[in-house]
Symmetry: C2
Subunit: 449 residues, 2 copies
C-alpha cells in the first residue's frame, strides 16, 4: 500500500519495535491498574477540540496542530496538546451525569507541534489523574493524588523518585508580604530558575520593579528544601529577616500555605516513605494553580526534568467552579529513557510461550488442536508456519525467543507428544490439557535490564 | 481551563461516559488477549504519515485530515485513515529487524474527514491482525487469521457472527473466462450490489461493455452461498451454462480459487463451527487483494455492514514483496451499537468494590490504612471524601454503585471493623488482610444487557 519510500522516521514521533512496545504497554497497564485500585474511573476523550478551546495565552507555546480536510482550507479543530483541556470540556458537558467528587484517570496520546529537539516529542502519551469536586475540594485530596502517583511510579521497576512540592498560597503570601505587586510575573521568572540560573532570575525580577533586597529574599526562599515540616522555620526566619509591607492578609495566606504544605509532605511520606520533599523552588508556569504544586524527579535522571507534575486549582472550567487537583505523568519521555538506556527490557519480543511444531501439512490440524487446548488455559502459542525438519522449526522458535517447542506425537498415537525447553534442551512427555510453562515464561515479562 | 462554552458534542467523534468506557475497554482488552494468545505481537504506530503515503486513488475517498501548525500554512503530514498504510511503512522501515512471517496486531484510533452521517465516525478504533511473509505466504495463514478473528468475536458476549468469504482467483478466473476485460472495474461494480441492487449493477456492467448474458452470469455467480464446499458445484454448473472464451489460464485460476475457498471455509468451520460461509458476492473494493477476501456480519445487525473485513494480498509495500493476509475489526462502530442498544453493560461505573468510611477527619489515616491493605490484595477501593454520618457515606457509595462499605472500628479498638454489603444489608466483622468480595463484585464486569 505504501506508495513512496520516504522512510526516515519522523523526528518527534516515537515508534517502538515489538519488544520495546511490550515495555511501553507494561508501563501503561501498570499505571492503569494502580489508578483503578484507587477507585479512579477511566475516561477517553476524542483527539480533537474546537480551536477556541485550544487558544489562550498559556497554551500559545504549545504549538497546536490544526486539522484541515485535504483540499479544504479552514480548520475547525485542532489536536489536544494535553489532557486537561479535554477533561475540562468533558466535565462541563456531563456535569449533570457525573458523580462528584469525580475521580478520573486518562491515558492518551497528545500532540504538540514543537520544533523537534532532544527529548521533545510531538506525539506522546500522558497519564493523568484528577479529583474534581463540584464545590469544595478537601485538602486530603492533595495528599491522595500525590500518594496514588507515588505508588504508580513505585509499581514500575524504576530508580527512586522524589516528589517535590510547594504551595501557591505560601509563595503568594510571602511575595505579597514582601511587596511584590505582580505575583504571577515573579512566579514565571522563578519557574525558570533551573534553566537560566539565579543571576538571570534576579535580573528579570529587577526588571519587574522588584528591589534588590526583595529579589534576594525571593531567591533565598527558592533554596529552601526539606523532607518534613522543618522548612517552616526556615521560611519564617527568612520572613523575619526581610522587610515586609505589614499586609495582614498576606501573612495569613503564608501561614495557611506553610501549614498545608507541611501536612502534605508529612502525610505523603507517611503513606509512601521517602518520596515527598518540600521544595520551595517549585513554581509551575501555569497561572491557574491555587494550592499544592508538584514536580517529580527520577533519581539519577534529573536531566529528564519533571516526569510527573500538577497541582491544585480552584476552577477546572472557565465559568468557575469544579475545584480540583491533578497530576500528569509524561509517559513517553519516561519510556523513551527506560528503553534507550536498557533500564527496562522485555524477556522476549513475542507473546508466544510455545511453538507447536508441525509434522507434515496433512497433520497441521493436530498441531492446531494442541495449540487451541493450550490457549484455552491462557498459554499463548503459535503453530509453525511450515513443516520443515524439526531442527529448522526449533531454529525458528529460537530466533523469535519462544522458549518451548511442542512436538506432536506421530499420527495414530494417542498421546499429545513432547515439549522441549529449547534453552536447556530438556524434553518431556506432556498433556496439552495439563502442561504449564514456568510462571516466568508464561508471558513476556518486563525486567530491569 | 475551558474558555468558551461550545459544548455540543462533535458529530462523528464518539466519546463515552465512564460506564460505557468500561464496555469499550473490555472489548479492546478482550481482542488484545485473544490476539496475544495466538502469538501476535502488538505494535503501535504514530498517528501521522507523510502526505504522499496517504495519497493514491483508492484512498481519495477517505478524506485525509492534514495537520497544519497553527499559524502555519503547509501540511507536512496527515492523520492515518487506516492501520494498513502505517503497518506497511513500519514493515518497510524495519524489515531488517523483524522476524518473518511477522504476526502483528494493532489497535488504534484512525481518522477520516467524512461528512458526518448515521453510523459514520470521523475518529474510531480499528483492531487489525496481519501475517506477513518475506516471500511466500502459506495458504493456511488465510485460515488462521479468520479463525483468530472468529475466536476474538466469540470471546465477546455478542450475537453470532458469520464470516463471509470469497476468493479473488475464483472471481478473476470466472470473469476472465466469460470474457470480461476489466476485471477490477467489474469487481468494483459487484461490490456495490448490497447498496444499489442487481439492476443497477447490471447497468454498470453493460456500460463497461459486458454483454447481457455475461452480466447475468456475473450476477448469478454473486448469489451463490454455502457453508461448505457445495458452492463449487453451483459455480461449475454456472460456468458450463455460460459461453466462455476458452482461456485455459482463466479456467485454471477458477479451479485454484474454488479449491482454496472450499478448504478455507471448511477449515475455518472445523475450528469455529458455524462461522464461515462461502459467499460469492463478497468483492471488497480494494484492488490489492489477490486471494481470500472476508466480510463479517453480526446476526440481527446486518445493517451495521461488515464488522470485520480484509483479505490476502501479494504485496504489502509498493516496491513489491511482503505478501500477507489480514483482517480488521471496526471496533467503534461495533461498540457504539452494543452500547446504544444496551446489549453490553457494565455492572457498575467505577472500579471501586469498597468505600472505606471515615469516622472523623482525625482518623482518616485509619481508613487509608485499611484501603491500602485491601488494594495490596487487588481489591479496588476508595476512602470516603468526607466524615459525614455513616448513613450519608452509605448513600455516597450507593449513588456510585460501590457494593460494599467498610466501617473502621472505633479508635483504640484492635480489629479492622465491619464491612456491609449495601445491597443486601448484610454486615460482618472483617479483617482487611483477609476479606474478599465475591468474585463477581471484584471489578466492574461487562454483561449482556
Amino acid at each position: 500500500m505504501g506508495r513512496m519510500s520516504r522512510l526516515a522516521p519522523l523526528s518527534g514521533f516515537p515508534e517502538w519495535p515489538p519488544a520495546e512496545r511490550i515495555v511501553e504497554v507494561f508501563v501503561l497497564d501498570t499505571l492503569r491498574e494502580v489508578f483503578a485500585l484507587h477507585g479512579f474511573s477511566e475516561i477517553e476523550t476524542r483527539a480533537v477540540e474546537p480551536l477556541e478551546r485550544l487558544g489562550g495565552q498559556a497554551e500559545a507555546s504549545k504549538e497546536v496542530y490544526t486539522l484541515v480536510r485535504r483540499g479544504g482550507e479552514t480548520a475547525e479543530f485542532g489536536l489536544h496538546f494535553d489532557l486537561t483541556v479535554p477533561f475540562a470540556r468533558y466535565v462541563e458537558e456531563r456535569q449533570g451525569q457525573l458523580q462528584f467528587p469525580f475521580r478520573r484517570f486518562q491515558i492518551q496520546k497528545v500532540w504538540r507541534g514543537e520544533r523537534p529537539q532532544e527529548g521533545r516529542f510531538r506525539e506522546f502519551y500522558q497519564a493523568d489523574i484528577d479529583v474534581v469536586a463540584r464545590e469544595n475540594l478537601p485538602a486530603h485530596c492533595e495528599t491522595e493524588v500525590a500518594v496514588v502517583m507515588a505508588r504508580a511510579l513505585a509499581a514500575l521497576p524504576l530508580p527512586a523518585v522524589h516528589m517535590r512540592m510547594n504551595d501557591r498560597r505560601l509563595v503568594e503570601g510571602f511575595y505579597r508580604g514582601v511587596g511584590i505587586r505582580d505575583v504571577a510575573d515573579a512566579l514565571r521568572s522563578v519557574d525558570k530558575l533551573g534553566k537560566i540560573g539565579p543571576a538571570a532570575v534576579a535580573k528579570e525580577l529587577s526588571g519587574q520593579g522588584v528591589s534588590e533586597t526583595v529579589g534576594a529574599a525571593v531567591l533565598q526562599l527558592a533554596t529552601i528544601q526539606a523532607p518534613d515540616a522543618s522548612f517552616k522555620d526556615a521560611v519564617l526566619d527568612l520572613w523575619e529577616a526581610t522587610p515586609t509591607t505589614g499586609d495582614a492578609g498576606a501573612r495569613e495566606l503564608l501561614g495557611v500555605g506553610l501549614d498545608t504544605l507541611a501536612r502534605l509532605v508529612e502525610s505523603v511520606n507517611a503513606a509512601v516513605p521517602g518520596t515527598a520533599v518540600a521544595d520551595l523552588s517549585i513554581a509551575r508556569g501555569l497561572d491557574y494553580y491555587t494550592g499544592a504544586v508538584y514536580e517529580t524527579t527520577l533519581d539519577g535522571h534529573e536531566d529528564l526534568g519533571s516526569i510527573c507534575s500538577g497541582g491544585r486549582y480552584d476552577s477546572l472550567v472557565a465559568g468557575g467552579g469544579f475545584p480540583g487537583v491533578g497530576l500528569s505523568i509524561g509517559v513517553s519521555r519516561l519510556v523513551s529513557r527506560l528503553v534507550s538506556q536498557g533500564m527496562l527490557v522485555a524477556t522476549r519480543a513475542v507473546p508466544s510461550a510455545v511453538l507447536v511444531a508441525v509434522i507434515d501439512e496433512d497433520n497441521r490440524d493436530v498441531s492446531d488442536g494442541i495449540a487451541a487446548r493450550l490457549r484455552s488455559r491462557g498459554i499463548a502459542c503459535e503453530v509453525s508456519p511450515n513443516a520443515a525438519k524439526f531442527g529448522k522449526q526449533i531454529q525458528y522458535a529460537d530466533r523469535r525467543g519462544i522458549p518451548f517447542v511442542w512436538f506432536p506425537a506421530a499420527p495414530g498415537e494417542a498421546d499429545d507428544g513432547e515439549v522441549k525447553d529449547i534453552r536447556s534442551g530438556d524434553q518431556v512427555a506432556a498433556d496439552a490439557d495439563a502442561w504449564v510453562p514456568p510462571a516466568d515464561d508464561l508471558r513476556p515479562r518486563v525486567v530491569r535490564g
